[in-house]
Symmetry: C2
């Protein structure tokens, strides 16, 4: 069918341009000299404009309509191709070019204003920019869905997600999260002293490389580098790079970032090469992607079995340093719960509380029920509610995350969606894969990787997130109770 | 003037796309995991096609014609903008899209066949691919200039150059080069033993960084990495990256590559920021670019003054290693002449003989007077003529350089053009800058850098190569005798 070939060709071009944009972003975050920033911004804008022109081209519109008129069943890959292109095309044509450009430029300006504002702890310096971004995002969302703008924002990152669905799924966490944190904290002893010893960065790097190698990271199709904020970039199938940040005095930080990013990378590396250069050659959604990174980081990486295998190896990398730290004490550090103020440093339990806080606030902002000027106060109130503590300054509060300041509204909930999928997935894996924990304790991650590939990775973005959840769990619904139960069990077992 | 703004905007877009392509190439040569090659090739092809479409667009054609109709003088920058865009546009529209695609694909295939053929010393394996490339290049060149196809190839790399001009300029080298090599070799002693000692790579890196820092390399706008074949990439002004290759047993190799590439980079870093995103924000030609790298590498880097400053620093980096190697002995190693078979390892004197050999042969190939099947024999004959020695196998002969196997015909002469410009430039600098050598001996490169900026860098590609040569030397003509005299003086002084 000529129409399908045409669509594949257009999709390949769009996918090539996305891959190039990913490379430019990786380069900027990892290797680019500072003086290259201005030229890079211009290049990125040019590339984005070209991609937008291709995406909204008449040619694509005509081909999509032609493909939709074909009565013969399309086959699974073509059907998915059509779904993704239609979705991207519609979103792009609904968005006025001028608004898109204004949003991009406001985001760039506000992000750089945020950097200064954050370092000076001065919210007022960035408040006008943030107000403008809220306004522009609301207008842009209304172009997609005038009746439910916030849902349109959500849908951008998690296809099909609505605030009402999330409210229902998140309800158990809302009800039981704070109490669980308080309960765990009351029962835990002092922080193990090894946590803040000094660990030579070059040795931490060596250990990180060992860990991701054992996890199954494919070095022929990737690399590990240092970055200020750890991230994973899949720049077109076949090249999936991870990054981490090593702190001399926080030995767990670097390796857990590594495990997390490697979880993302194993997803990307597990997608079949035949999906490359199509929109199917990607994860099913941000939530699904996060489910992989979180499952590796938390369910696997924070388990005693994982460290039964790796603690002796960590000891070997730092000879004489950790000999007297027993596995139990080590795990007490790995799983320590603290109602800390900073999301990116949060433990497995309080993490979702941070997300609930942001979910509540960003909905109010987009709905126009909360003004940016009232945001710092609202943040402190929500922080008390969800975490039992409030930040003393905005740097540790409303200024801590970059997301809103570069126009990412509706993004935060995908983190907790990922945690919920991971909890559900782990429950089925524990049942279905008999020797899973023994294999992990022996450093054999093949059974786990095989199952993740079989159940998730091999489909790429063939299914919608809801379809894939139904395949996995028999229902598209995610149950927050599963996540809460998993945490409750884990922490009661540890005591 | 609206037309000028329009042209500037189109030029900025083309320049952004070139900068992105440069980044992709740098990434591939320096950091990309091997498994990313297929996706990268697809992305590069997509980007090249998009750039070609933009370059041959009706919009650009109409704007160029409109700008050319304007009677009012355009101003120097606009005039240069028009000249470059017209030149690129004409070249692109004269070239049939199918031929361009075939050439790109044949080049990619033949280059990868060359890698295998070279490692197996098997010219016959790559001969059919090379024949095809010669044929396609000839056809492509004839699209530009049916009467003088080889000149069209030359012009691509060195605007305005013709084989007849080069013959005239190169004549003294042809006449006197071999004799000079023989003369110098007869007079020099044994190779100093320090040349092939073992030097720890990480310390060589440290020394390389020190050298380019002192030369004035701007780290805020660049970085130094390892690459198989050293090169410089200017990916849009403001980000000029250099690479080198460190060999444990060849201490001079890595640092001289570094000095050479840093010469290129100082040119790019010295072009005024206001030229960025225009075709003027580049060097005047490949020959001019090579003049900068060669001048730093040879006239500066192989001078006793340079090492008067740096040898003590090299000794400090390798404590105890070079203490007994005196400056004179060190310089005997730095300036050792050998009629070696490999161009990239050639000394300052025999280097041009390698170029003459290739210049002669590629002209005959393009003219159809030499068949690819006869090329290995012709190479050996020319090698005897120019270097006094012939390779025993094709790996050290016709298979040594990648250029022809990726379709670069007419490129080699720019190296000797660069050497001739450097010789002429050095002669004027020696006269005009009174304390130049003392400054170098004191590690003060500012006077030299200032002069190079003033005379060359600050103009970017504002002038044609011939115009810039006229500005520098009062005539566009380059005199091969100047280069020969410089070499003769240098080597007679050293004895």
């Amino acid at each position: 069918m000529n129409v399908w070939n045409d669509l594949l060709e257009l999709a390949a071009e769009l996918s090539d341009l996305s891959g190039i944009a990913e490379l430019m972003d990786w380069d900027q975050q990892v290797v680019m000299p500072r003086g290259g920033a201005a030229a890079r911004a211009a290049q990125a804008a040019t590339l984005a404009r070209i991609r937008h022109d291709k995406l909204t081209s008449k040619r694509l519109g005509v081909r999509l309509a032609a493909a939709e008129r074909i009565r013969k069943p399309a086959g699974r890959l073509n059907a998915a191709l059509l779904r993704h292109l239609r979705r991207e095309y519609d979103r792009a044509v609904r968005m006025p070019a001028a608004l898109s450009a204004e949003l991009a430029s406001a985001a760039a300006l506000t992000q750089s204003a945020w950097e200064t504002a954050r370092s000076r702890n001065d919210f007022s310096a960035v408040a006008p920019g943030l107000s403008r971004l809220v306004e522009l995002s609301r207008t842009a969302a209304a172009c997609q869905s005038p009746a439910a703008p916030y849902d349109a924002l959500l849908d951008q990152y998690e296809e099909g997600a609505t605030a009402a669905d999330l409210d229902r799924m998140f309800a158990p966490l809302r009800a039981g999260g704070s109490a669980l944190i308080a309960e765990i904290m009351a029962g835990q002893g002092e922080a193990p002293s090894y946590l803040d010893w000094s660990y030579a960065p070059e040795l931490q790097w060596r250990f990180c490389r060992e860990v991701v190698s054992v996890m199954g990271y494919d070095w022929r199709h990737g690399r590990l580098d240092a970055a200020e904020h750890p991230f994973t970039t899949g720049m077109g199938g076949g090249d999936v790079r991870i990054t981490t940040h090593i702190y001399r005095n926080r030995v767990l930080s670097g390796v857990f970032s590594c495990i997390h990013e490697c979880g993302h990378a194993l997803y990307d590396q597990g997608i079949p090469p035949r999906f490359r250069r199509t929109p199917v050659g990607d994860g099913a959604s941000l939530g699904f992607h996060e489910s992989q990174s979180r499952l590796w980081e938390n369910q696997v990486g924070r388990s005693p079995e994982f460290w039964q295998y790796f603690l002796p190896r960590l000891r070997r990398v730092f000879p004489g340093r950790l000999d007297r730290v027993r596995l139990e004490e080590f795990m007490a550090g790995v799983n320590r719960v603290e109602s800390s103020l900073i999301r990116t440093e949060a433990d497995e339990v309080s993490y979702n509380q941070h997300i609930l806080l942001r979910f509540d606030l960003e909905r109010e902002l987009i709905a126009g029920r909360l003004q940016v000027s009232d945001l710092p106060g609202a943040w402190r109130a929500k922080s008390l509610e969800y975490l039992g503590t409030a930040p003393e300054n905005d740097r540790d509060g409303v200024l801590q995350d970059v997301h809103w300041y570069c126009g990412l509204f509706g993004y935060f909930p995908t983190y907790t969606i990922g945690n919920m999928i991971a909890a559900g997935l782990w429950r089925t894996l524990e049942k279905d894969v008999p020797d899973l924990k023994n294999a992990i304790a022996a450093g054999d991650f093949r059974p786990l990787r095989t199952e993740l590939r079989r159940r998730i990775h091999r489909f790429g973005a063939l299914y919608t997130p809801a379809e894939l959840r139904t395949r996995l769990f028999g229902t598209p619904e995610l149950d927050g109770r599963l996540l809460l139960d998993y945490l409750r069990c884990k922490y009661s077992a540890a005591r």
